[in-house]
Symmetry: D2
Subunit: 308 residues, 4 copies
């Protein structure tokens, strides 16, 4: 299996303008090495977060763009997440004054004094858990915080979740699942990064257990099929991801797209609207990024019932 | 076990002013008969929802108030949900133009034409599922849409979720769980109703599988313990419920209260903030009511770790 | 002119259940004595706001309810604000941790340390300005922060702006203007209070220049005319007030009602929608209360053009 | 005075990557020819808006980028709006299903049927008003919907208002006023366009009276002065513009920046917070774009009082 490493600088925006780092064929499996959200500039609890923020070129470095052969605007890119392995023995979390669901920030400023910033370093223990101390210890549940194809015209900050994916921070973009992304430009221009060793729903303080990782992915194309927002397929469920502000708009988008998905299986729109009222799931992936992300779910059994 | 039925009119507000319907002792188990959200005025798919809305006294009739002996302002009321049984053979859902996550409504009005209103009647089938047709068929997963104690001064619409509970529409207020509510007035003045045979997260179109029910509850008091917002305890998890608008404010409240809960187990605040970043859960209970409700969860194992 | 004073306790909710304080006839002019938002418990910059909050029965005391003879549910109450005079020589503002557009609060909690609370006492100077020092000095621009009729069923906190008016904190509810409120119960049950010597748009920190006052009002009825939300008429403009969260929902309501108002003058709905795009005004009355309030405006000249 | 015309394609993003169209010196006055938001593809009320949307390269074409000699990241660009003249005899407004404060759209989707799309063509009449018919007639009050400098890394859609300005749709970016924008990249990379013959606050239906125009601007630099968000200076007032979602976050940003501005004049932060509570203004510039924009204002007299 081919291993793709970033040459030169990582990408700090999702864009079609950067020269592709590599080209992959539909059906091909590759291995990518991802950088962590701090650009690997935080390694000790005594490091200075303000210095890190001023030193790095940008936030949330991404590997890419990966050019997918044969992908055309209007297609859908299916990314199978096969495996995630850590490439160092620690993960980093922190309280920063620039981000956080319960921290005043650029979008929701307050007159209060800033929080005292703080770093937590977690190391893998014998059971493979991430351990800071006897109390702060979490199982290894890795996923990719960021997966995106390039927008049609924009170059969007790698901190942004949007209609082509991006920084969704959805724990369901994990090994065993397939992530479907809209293709807006020929070649798709895929980016990924921001691997988390574990993360709760909402990514509450703004930084999960941030790691560098080796990620195995398989790319496939669904030719001629257009979707408007990302979808995730697990063995048992179909999911849609909506990213916007306020959070209810993200929820509206996610459920609207899930209704659209159900109509592809033969459901009438109002029946699907009512069915999801009784059996949909809806969790918050992130409440900290430039857009909030909500994930709506339906069981495959229910979605496919019309076609049985 | 004593059965409590509403005498005279059901209640359409959560309030301390209505004469208590019954008095219960801490530790006592009682059975309550709840009315459905339509005041049982919808029984056929040909009924007129506009007529129903104009005919009924109010929305979301509640049984109560139940006076809990010994409850004083500042205490916490613990309500054990022991059992829920249907008292009729059908459940009702509908699309109404007055409510819905994807329906323009009083709070989020739009210039578009109203939706065509529609009713779905579900009946229990042999396997005990709620069945409309071969496709619309859902398992029996009953819970109480509404559980509240009276506000200190206000009389709030039974459509409202708020700091003393109310119309949270959280699928976790179900048999086997304990719901903790702040007590704002002596006697607590407990109300419940709006039983759902099943509901997805968000209650998307605004009406779940609405039923009348017989509900077994046990009331207990936590004397001298004050909580600010509702909590739910399942065998494995602690939950907090925040209700506000926009949805991110409901999420903020839920997680802030979950941090407060963890500090009661010995957690330092910033550690709890960071721990929930890695391991909290956060789902949308309702995206349709006068406030949106978000439920934040932490495993008991994690919350209690500091005290082990 | 009759002077109405509160007998016994002021009201802390808008409700139909409290015994009317007085009865007025349509066309009648009366004088009301209003209490300030602090229940007159803050008189010095050394007072303790926490003590004040714990001591008072409720927030934002209201005089009322005033029963308007002949008012029936479905009518509109027109309240002419004739005059406002201060009844003491000072006004009070403060920074409190319980409220504020840039202060974490119950609805938008944050993990930061609370602000240091602070009181500012302003006194009338020779020019009739409210003066704290050489820099903090503002002209006398009084208005009524709160004007409401009772809800149909609820008893709502006097801190709440809602469809029958309430704590809108709109600087346009001032002498010379007419405020139109929906009548939901027979007799209307009018409440007012929370007089401000001056206030900017948004009431940013949560407390304006709070005063006690003598207010001259004239009540009139528009029989058989039903409005959904408050309206304000100045010599030159028609206004509508929407109160909700998030703020864009308040804005949607305000403009939706202004379109409705224009259709009463013969405008086609889509023409009115487009006309307000070119010539409507939209300011924020409050960004601090339990709902946010937005005021939309159209010139009378434009609104009435269809009827000329 | 030099006239700058777009050569080749207009810009559809605010970015630093496009080759500068022209270079200007601080103090220089230039004339720019701006395209309308429809790329001049709508000229008749019978045109097809869906065809227009599919045909054009992008939304909201911008002239630029203009390289400002001597501008360095961290400086502030001052743009004096000297004059705006129409370059054709008509303006266009429309109802589109892709945008609108009371129209379901990409961000706030609904299950309702789309609105019937519609175009209004306005022509200048003898008095210089924009006239559609006897009722739809508005005075000439031109301003630039869009003014921006390039972001540090991103290329943002010309539909987006953000911290460097952009599609703010603020009626105060008009002749006689000065607009201050943060400089994030050397040369500033200035863009403008989206001229409106008139617009109400909120740009309710999403398209104002759209025109092509000749715009006279003068560029100046404030070396070494860093601002975080746009400011506007009129003869009597200082303004700040916040753009975000939900709308209350835009309001928070605007007022936070206005407090920052006042501290530059010697105000203590909490005094400024309180002073704006009594005397600030806060209106909605747009409630339709990808971010909502709010404009906060303070009189120069008040802001400068500390320095007198």
């Amino acid at each position: 299996m081919r291993t793709i490493e970033q040459k030169g600088a990582y990408c700090y925006t999702f864009n079609r303008y950067t020269e592709p780092l590599a080209r992959v064929k539909p059906g091909e499996e590759v291995q990518l090495l991802t950088e962590d959200a701090y650009c690997s500039l935080v390694k000790s609890e005594n490091d200075d977060l303000e210095y890190m923020r001023k030193t790095r070129t940008g936030s949330n470095p991404q590997i890419g763009p990966i050019y997918v052969e044969g992908a055309e605007a209007g297609d859908t890119l299916a990314v199978h997440i096969l495996d995630i392995q850590p490439t160092r023995d620690f993960a980093v979390s922190s309280i920063q004054n620039t981000i956080g669901g319960l921290t005043p920030n650029k979008h929701t400023p307050m007159m209060t004094e800033p929080l005292k910033e703080r770093i937590w370093i977690y190391r893998f223990d014998k059971e493979g858990f991430l351990r800071h101390d006897d109390y702060l210890r979490f199982p290894w549940k890795p996923f990719l915080g960021t997966m995106a194809t390039a927008p049609k015209l924009e170059a969007l900050s790698a901190l942004t979740p949007f209609e082509n994916g991006g920084n969704m921070d959805a724990p369901d973009t994990k090994p065993g699942n397939i992530v479907y992304l809209p293709v807006s430009v020929d070649g798709a221009y895929f980016f990924t990064g921001d691997c988390h060793a574990a993360q709760g729903e909402g990514e509450l303080c703004g930084t999960a257990l941030e790691i560098t990782a080796k990620v195995k992915l398989k790319f496939e194309l669904v030719k001629g099929k257009t979707i408007n927002w990302p979808r995730i397929e697990s063995p048992d469920e179909y999911m849609t991801v909506g990213s916007s502000r306020p959070m209810e708009d993200a929820a509206r988008i996610a459920y609207m797209e899930l209704i659209a998905l159900m109509t592809e299986f033969g459901w009438e729109r109002m029946d699907a609207y009512q069915a999801l009222t009784q059996a949909g799931k809806l969790y918050c992936a992130n409440m900290v990024d430039t857009n909030y992300s909500m994930v709506a779910k339906v069981s495959k059994a229910l979605a496919q019932r019309r076609k049985q």
